[in-house]
């Protein structure tokens, strides 16, 4: 027992130490700052207690609830889309086809191409008048949309633009798929089952640890969406894409209200923590570890 505690701590000591040295300090600092009216440029900083938090929750700052709602909507749309699409693509990339390496690289490429290139292309593709997407839809006599330029459609449009960057998630699924022993599939073949059987009884259960990882990371990442607002929409039109972290960053670095921004950050922290905790707890019932763990 004590030996395991000793070794457990030993192995994890670099990470724990790293957390204490590099992360804990700044986290505590930002929490303390959230209880002040810290403005980086000002000499004196006054302790204001929970004033910042009261201001946020009371609705005095209407952009707080607005940006929170917008971000929630984004997360709800994006997480399932990313997980499902990445998984399907990973399944495809796992097949033993010719040129697999090339396919894998191509799908990963958009995640390493500079963000500005992807942004430019989406602006063209989603252009209401000249863009490919609307042209394609209208040839099929389907309704078109104003995509990024209309209040109602801007968030789904932003979700769409992030789908190019799923290369990382796909790769992780691929690595997960590669850990499934071949024998298991062979046993289904023996029983006469087809691809659906394999998927349902072997692949998905075996890959739940990876689904779990990708889900958590996508949730955490989606709540903190920033670049799309910064590069593509600047929060518009009519503040309908004012994502929370974009709003936070603007408060911190344009308005220089670092104390208030820290309060905003900690509220988001608690929200993300809450949802991550829920997913963790739920994992006991749907994640299967062959190592026999139940967490």
């Amino acid at each position: 027992m004590r030996k395991r505690l000793f070794y457990g701590l030993l192995f994890t000591s670099p990470a724990i130490l790293g957390f204490i040295i590099f992360t804990l300090g700044p986290m505590i600092a930002s929490f303390v700052l959230s209880l002040t009216d810290y403005n980086v440029f000002r000499e004196q900083t006054a302790f204001v207690g929970l004033d910042n938090y009261i201001k946020l929750f009371s609705g005095e700052d209407d952009l707080f609830y607005k940006s929170l709602g917008i971000t929630f909507y984004f997360v709800i749309l994006r997480v399932p889309a990313v997980i499902i699409i990445s998984f399907v693509i990973a399944l495809l990339l796992n097949m033993n086809v010719k040129g697999r390496a090339v396919f894998r690289t191509i799908i990963y490429l958009p995640s390493i191409v500079p963000a500005v290139a992807s942004a430019m292309i989406w602006m063209w593709l989603l252009n209401p008048d000249l863009g490919l997407v609307n042209s394609f839809l209208s040839t099929l006599h389907l309704p078109t949309s104003n995509w990024l330029y209309a209040e109602g459609s801007v968030i789904p449009s932003v979700v769409l633009t992030t789908l190019w960057g799923i290369g990382g998630t796909v790769i992780i699924f691929l690595a997960g798929l590669s850990g499934i022993p071949k024998q298991y599939y062979e046993s289904i073949d023996v029983d006469g089952g087809g691809w659906y059987s394999k998927l349902r009884h072997i692949t998905i259960p075996m890959v739940t640890p990876t689904i779990f990882f990708n889900t958590i990371m996508t949730i955490i990442g989606s709540f903190q969406v920033f670049n799309e607002a910064y590069i593509l929409t600047q929060g518009g039109p009519n503040n309908q894409s004012l994502f929370y972290v974009y709003y936070l960053w603007r408060t911190a670095f344009r308005d220089t209200q670092m104390g208030y921004a820290s309060a905003l950050a900690w509220v988001l922290f608690l929200i993300i923590l809450f949802f991550t905790f829920i997913v963790f707890k739920s994992s006991k019932s749907w994640v299967y570890y062959e190592g026999g763990e139940r967490t």
Partner: protein, 482 residues
């Protein structure tokens, strides 16, 4: 394996990790710069000098000045030219130029927080210049200007100095930028229309402008906007391209005798008739006359020089910095005075340089500032078209004027009247320079304006709907006492 051996194995793991740490901490590349990296015990001191004594105007002590800038390689090159000239004039001073390639505000904020502040910094009035100034971080350049023999406020072109309040100048722009009406000469020739006049006194009225724009807005079937069968959904060539940011529309608010806030600075003014009328007229270009692209379509329109060259637009209202691109595109372009609503007007926008109060060498920093403002040092950027000079005599003295406006691709025939004279005689400071709390006010205004540009709401309704909220953000003007 015996327990002893097991223990030894784990200890060796520990040792291995420890050794790794030590190896890294001591063996990693540690560059040779920064003498102030371990100034934990010394009180807040800037990294600006290695001199034993501070102050002292002309002396033989070695002084290092540090300045931060942003910008593309050619802009940085221009600053380096100015610095080289400066270092030649003052051999005991070295200038350390720090180029911050991106996220300038974030980086500078971190530097200020860490007490690692340069002597001179490039600043932008729309972002952190005033937050810094309000905390007293900058020198009042008025004092320097008043006692300087080489330059004073009179020598500078109007609207390039930024004040925190009357009498407290916190930044000077190395070169102004103003707005004008650029156009493709061939389009006018082919259509048989008279191009926009370059003299402000002869400038088109708004209605004349709309009229010409309509004739030059052509759909894919060749019909112009006056034609009853005109199809606004398939426009091949727009009459005019018009940015919908505050830089662009401010020109017309001022031209219509309107403003962002009232003269005493106490009241929000974009919902007043003068401003509302200006905004509505601009919005009508998009939604009523269909001569300008909406923000939706504007994303299709490339940069002004390409748009004009490829005849996507016949005219473009843009900042004069586009001259550089226009100069490099080989086609017949020219520039005219902006259409006038009630009086000719252009907004002047530009960055600035400010001197941090924490500098140990204010006098030397001031000399460097002067060197940066000297048009001769920036002559390459000026002749290329990107910049304009800061000294008034470069606009009024024919010999100096010729240096940067004659026989240059970046300065077509209309330039002197449409840009130079307008800047001298009918220019207005950028709203970011005198409206306090500008950003927060615009956070309220911009979403409402989005609706106006998209034709979803009239300017009056939009501005009225947010007037109260905008008013709560108004904090006064910087050019008015009190």
């Amino acid at each position: 394996m015996s327990p002893m051996l097991r223990q030894r194995k784990s200890i060796s793991v520990l040792l291995a990790i420890l050794m790794m740490l030590i190896a890294i901490l001591s063996g990693c590349t540690k560059p040779s710069s920064s003498t102030d990296s371990s100034n934990v015990s010394t009180p807040a001191k800037t990294a600006s000098s290695e001199a034993p004594a501070s102050g002292g105007t002309k002396s033989n002590e070695k002084i290092t000045l540090r300045m931060t800038v942003w910008g593309a390689p050619e802009e940085v090159a221009a600053y380096k030219v100015a610095i080289a000239k400066f270092e030649k004039k003052f051999p005991n001073i070295t200038v350390n130029l720090q180029h911050i390639p991106t996220d300038y505000d974030t980086k500078l904020t971190a530097m200020v927080a860490g007490n690692d502040v340069p002597d001179i910094a490039q600043m932008e009035s729309a972002s952190i210049a005033y937050p810094l100034a309000e905390q007293g971080k900058f020198y009042n350049l008025q004092d320097f200007l008043a006692s300087d023999s080489e330059i004073n406020t009179g020598r500078l072109v109007p609207n390039i100095s930024y004040s925190l309040e009357p009498g407290n100048i916190i930044g000077l722009g190395p070169g102004p930028e103003s707005f004008a009406l650029f156009y493709n000469e061939d389009i006018f020739k082919d259509a048989g229309l008279t191009p926009p006049p370059s003299k402000a006194s002869e400038a088109w009225t708004w209605d004349q402008f709309v009229d010409v724009a309509k004739k030059l807005t052509i759909d894919t079937k060749g019909r112009n906007a006056n034609d009853p069968a005109f199809d606004p959904k398939s426009i091949k060539q727009y009459g005019v391209n018009f940015g919908t940011w505050w830089g662009s529309y401010s020109n017309f608010i001022y031209s219509n005798n309107g403003d962002f806030v009232s003269e005493d600075g106490k009241t929000f003014a974009l919902n007043q008739p003068a401003a509302v009328e200006a905004i509505q007229k601009i919005a009508d270009l998009i939604n009523v006359h269909h001569v300008a692209p909406s923000p939706v379509q504007a994303k299709n329109i490339p940069a002004t020089n390409v748009a004009l060259q490829t005849k996507k637009v016949a005219m473009a209202i843009d900042g004069q910095w586009v001259s550089a691109g226009l100069a490099q595109s080989k086609f017949h372009y020219n520039v005219g005075a902006l259409p006038v609503m009630k009086k000719p007007m252009t907004t002047v926008v530009c960055g600035m340089f400010s001197i941090f109060k924490s500098t140990k060498h204010p006098k030397e920093a001031w000399e460097l500032m002067k060197a940066l403002m000297d048009p001769d040092a920036a002559i390459d950027m000026i002749t290329a078209g990107t910049w304009m000079p800061s000294y008034r005599d470069w606009y009024t003295d024919p010999a100096l004027l010729a240096k940067w406006t004659e026989k240059l691709d970046s300065r077509p025939s209309g330039y002197k009247d449409a840009v130079v004279n307008v800047l001298l005689n009918s220019s207005h400071q950028t709203p970011t320079g005198y409206v306090k709390n500008f950003n927060k006010i615009m956070d309220v205004v911009n979403p409402a304006l989005d609706k106006v540009w998209l034709g979803q709401q009239s300017a009056k309704d939009a501005m009225d709907s947010i007037a109260e909220k905008a008013q709560s953000q108004v904090q006064g003007r910087r050019d008015v006492k009190g």
